[in-house]
């Protein structure tokens, strides 16, 4: 009798390919794409609404509706055209070299976002909410700045390597400390990381106005990083692409291996799905919490080094910018899967790069990126919402 129950409950065998096919047919694989589309749609509405021509033509919409429609088209098309030119290829440029600058900018922007996103993905899959990307990036950046500026005793490449390691270590310690607190006192990591972000921001500000401040600078910022501590450029001085991009690709592979193929990642995932079963199976929960947060923080710290030693080349108060939040959205959009995170990171890098052009050419404030980005996450997180927007059938689970 119990056999009957079993056949009802167990799933049909699902191979890798048929799983993919089913995802495509039921639209699960389409959701991220549609979420991005829907968000751009919302962004377009905002752009149109804020456009002065649109507002002006709206006044006589009923007399000449065509005016307003063309104004809407121009504003939205203009903005997204600028976005494309700023992020992928600028076809207005005189030569290929100048045109492709946009793409390299996208890749440069995507480097810290993706690396920090990988860190978040590791934490998410291990059941920990690391909201502390901002703080960990800052501490990592400060660490590598100290080595780069004040410990110049090593010859060139070694100086750079040690500076990067210091950044990784800084992030790992700052993140690991949260894991340590959670393991020993049960402190909720969400609260602690949020608080640590602010503590890090104020510590950074304090440091940049006191001991780390460049002697002659009027703003709170450090001295420029010396050449031998910088990420080597990949495509010459005209392009922002640096070795950090390769490091990012390596990090993607490393995280994939860690989470899917290593025993450490096995324990991370087990902890994420069921801490008490992991405990009973002999996993040292406290140490694993620490390790997860340390790895997550280390990646955030690495992201910090790519900012300081690769892109900005000095330490300023804006080092973490919005990367802490970007990392969360990238990890969510990429479903905490390393390759997905890479794709999401490049998408958001493109948004950042393109937004600059959009602001300069079309007068669309860069803040539109925040809106689009958070809309993407909202849609991703709520597939039923996307389905209803695009009139798709309900998923199998929802029907059941």
């Amino acid at each position: 009798m119990s056999d009957k129950m079993k056949t009802q409950k167990t799933e049909a065998p699902v191979g890798r390919f048929s799983g993919l096919a089913r995802e495509l047919f039921t639209g699960n694989a389409l959701i991220p794409v549609l979420a991005v589309l829907a968000s751009f749609l919302v962004g377009g509405i905002l752009i149109a609404l804020s456009n002065e021509n649109v507002q002006a033509t709206a006044g006589y919409f009923f007399a000449r509706p065509g005016d307003m429609l063309s104004a809407i088209w121009q504003s939205v098309f203009g903005a997204y055209d600028a976005l494309f030119r700023g992020s992928i290829y600028n076809y207005h440029a005189d030569n290929f070299g100048d045109g492709i600058l946009s793409l390299t900018q996208t890749l440069a922007y995507s480097t810290p976002i993706t690396i920090a996103g990988l860190g978040l993905a590791v934490a998410f899959r291990s059941g920990l909410f690391n909201i502390g990307g901002t703080g960990q990036i800052i501490v990592g950046a400060v660490g590598s700045t100290i080595i780069a500026l004040y410990v110049p005793i090593w010859p060139g490449p070694l100086h750079f390597l040690v500076a990067v390691l210091a950044g990784i270590l800084g992030g790992a310690l700052f993140g690991g400390f949260v894991g340590f607190l959670k393991a020993t006192t049960g402190a909720n990591e969400v609260i602690v990381t949020i608080m640590f972000n602010y503590i890090a921001v104020y510590l950074l500000h304090y440091s940049l106005t006191s001991w780390l401040k460049a002697p002659l600078a009027s703003n709170p910022q450090s001295s420029p990083i010396p050449q031998d501590a910088l990420y080597p450029s990949l495509a010459g001085p005209d392009y922002p692409l640096h070795l950090g991009f390769i490091v990012m690709l390596l990090a993607v592979a490393a995280v994939w291996w860690l989470m899917n193929r290593s025993s450490v990642g096995f324990h991370f995932r087990a902890l994420g799905h069921n801490p008490s079963a992991s405990k009973v199976a002999g996993v040292n929960i406290g140490r694993t919490y620490f390790l997860v947060m340390a790895v997550s923080g280390a990646l955030a710290g690495l992201a910090g080094t790519s900012q300081i030693l690769g892109t900005e080349k000095y330490l300023g108060t804006g080092v973490a910018a919005t990367y802490g939040f970007d990392a969360i959205t990238v990890a969510l959009l990429g479903r905490s899967n390393p390759v997905g995170v890479l794709a999401a990171g490049i998408l958001f890098g493109g948004l950042r790069a393109g937004a600059v052009t959009m602001q300069a050419n079309q007068n669309v404030p860069i803040d539109i990126v925040y809106v689009v980005q958070s809309m993407i996450v909202l849609f991703i997180a709520a597939p039923p919402l996307v389905r209803s927007i695009f009139f798709m059938p309900k998923s199998k689970e929802a029907r059941a």
Partner: protein, 419 residues
Amino acid sequence: MKTLKRGAIRVPIILSVLTLITLWVAAIAPGGETTIQINSNATATGAAGEAFRFANIITSTAFSAWLTFGLTLLATALAWWFALTGRVASRWLSIGFGVVFVFNILISLFNGQTMTITALLHGSLSLAVPLIFGSLAGVLSERVGLVNIAIEGQLLAGAFVSAMVATLVQNPWVGLIGAMVAGAFVSWLLAVFAIRYVVDQIIIGVVLNVLVIGLTNFMFSTFMSANSQVFNAPPRLPSFDVPGLAQIPVIGPVFFSQTPIVYLMYVAVIGVWFALYKTRWGLRLRAVGEYPKAADTVGIKVYATRYRSVMIGGALAGLGGAFFTIGQSLAFGKEMTNGAGYIALAALIFGRWNPIYAAFAGLLFGFAENLQYSLSTVGSHVPSDFLLMLPYVLTVVLVAGLVGKVTGPAAAGKAYIKS
């Protein structure tokens, strides 16, 4: 000796450490004098003025520092005595210690200057208003089972909408209503995604904050800043004295000569407390936050209760946001809440999900923030960054368990799925 309960000596140990700090402060106290002015400056008070004034106290800074050190030493000794004889020390001992401790540090910082008590408190209250409203939003949301990371977004939306609406209709009261609607709307979004779409509440909170920042920044840049006379010059809510109460020395000018938003806040704190613990509404609300299924089985509508409570909270947070703009006659500025929502979250945890305690925690954090301004005006050399950090550090210390185990409502953060 009787077996000591673990943790019984926690308080005396902490007090001992803090006493060492007071000793250090006393030892390095500068040789000048500090003037302590208790009442408000006569010119700054409302028309009625305080009923009577205390004389200014001029004291040797070093003497005061040593005196306060002596008091803290005494309190610590008492705490040890209580702990070792197995008695429970009164909470007032810790509170009294805290006041003396703060005084000890302040007096050294204000060396050679005038420390105006009412000004310190008044400034603290002002900065605490949004924090307290925000923490009430948190209380109403978490008590019903939804973690509210989006307080920041609710405050910011309130600030933005109140400034714009008040300017457009040239009426600050309508702006207040707009703020409440805006805050409630953000919390409605939180509830929809958390309840209907079962999205993780922390994710949705973080994302909503960024969405509100993005939207307000975008609108600020596209039309608000360019036409600030049309969109962003809110009229001020007139402040007024509460007859009678405003004349009470010290308390009057601090608490009862304020804008209506502050009075609304008093009402809100007491009201939320009363509603939570003394009414049917509150009992059901808390039941939903502790064990939604149990509430469901006695016919309480879990989802409706959650929506309602979260949105009322959002409306309160909106009021808190309005304090940034029409409460102080300021135009809206990009990201002007500047993390107040996260401090409100901290105050909520500090206040153990109780509206009254959370309000006091908000005051404490407001005090820390205000200190930074007061000290910079007297030219103190304590880096303001460290004072600004204080609420966050305190919260980490708290959740890491130094002050005891902090647990919120049992079902907070967990989606309730009806089958």
